[in-house]
């Protein structure tokens, strides 16, 4: 077996050490939410619970995030009208959560649909932490 050159090993080490989801635009979105929420970190566990739960405050057609996004977030979901939704997991869809306007627009719409209210910055951050951890 050929021994890899030093630069190759170094490059590999950097790739392995970098969190899978790292992206400056997404980090900026998450950092802004941390400031708004007044916290230093978000909980993927809390985000998971909120995302997978069945709620009753919103519209009866959409009791959960999973109504449209499904429970396997590395696979795509489907809107109620039958249109495919790209996977939510950052690991398989690295473009996710990198456009702040898009993130805000869909949180506003979908939290209203599912919860009957907007999500708090803490809830948004927790959900993004969850979806980035998958």
């Amino acid at each position: 077996m050929k021994i890899p050159s030093k630069p190759t090993i170094l490059a590999l080490a950097i790739i392995l050490a970098t969190p899978l989801a790292a992206n400056p635009a997404r980090d900026a979105i998450i950092n802004a939410l941390k400031q708004q929420a007044g916290v230093s970190s978000f909980s993927a566990e809390e985000g998971k619970a909120l995302f997978l739960a069945t709620h009753s405050g919103g519209k009866p057609e959409t009791p959960s995030c999973t109504t449209c996004h499904g429970t396997n977030l590395k696979a795509g979901g489907k809107t109620r009208a039958g249109k495919p939704i790209e996977p939510m997991a950052v690991s398989v869809n690295p473009q996710r959560y990198t456009d702040p306007a898009k993130v805000e627009k869909w949180f506003r719409r979908n939290c209203n649909s599912v919860l009957g209210r907007e999500c708090t910055p803490l809830e948004k951050g927790n959900i993004l932490a969850y979806l980035s951890s998958l």
Partner: protein, 149 residues
């Protein structure tokens, strides 16, 4: 072509064209405005503007926060631009009903064309999912082409 064949073809042509009303013998006017197209196709295909009348579009654009059971609201500027485009590119009812229809699938010609069995088939078929998914059967639906039925 014999006269009989021409007559038959004409009769068939008229029958197929009726559901989509008057000027849509060949094509239902599609959504060609980029903003309208982008926003209206986020969750479903951009239904051709010619499938509903102006007053129906007006009502849809006034109730986006509860759009068939979902919040589809937009910023005010986009909402107004899309409303104007849809209203200006569709035909008005001369005598609009008190509550202009919002669901294309509830229009009389639509129900006649598809029949209740197809509604069920669409719902239970994995590849379709809903009668709202025109493109599952009509590949050119977003371009206003429905001749493939």
């Amino acid at each position: 072509m014999t006269t009989r064949r021409i007559l038959l073809a004409t009769a068939l042509g008229v029958a197929l064209a009726t559901p989509l009303s008057a000027d849509d013998n060949e094509r239902v006017r599609p959504v060609t405005d980029p903003l309208t197209r982008a926003e209206c196709s986020a969750c479903h295909m951009a239904y051709p503007v010619g499938l509903l009348r102006s007053q129906s579009w007006e009502r849809i654009m006034g109730t986006l926060s509860d759009h068939f059971g979902e919040d589809a609201s937009l910023d005010p500027a986009s909402t107004e631009a899309i409303r104007a485009w849809l209203v200006n590119n569709s035909r008005p009812y001369a005598k609009p009903p008190a509550e202009p229809p919002m669901r294309i699938s509830e229009l009389r010609w639509f129900k006649r064309e598809h029949g209740s069995r197809l509604f069920t088939v669409a719902r239970v078929s994995k590849g379709i999912g809903s009668i709202s998914n025109c493109q599952a059967c009509h590949r050119g639906a977003e371009q206003g082409l429905f001749e493939d039925d």
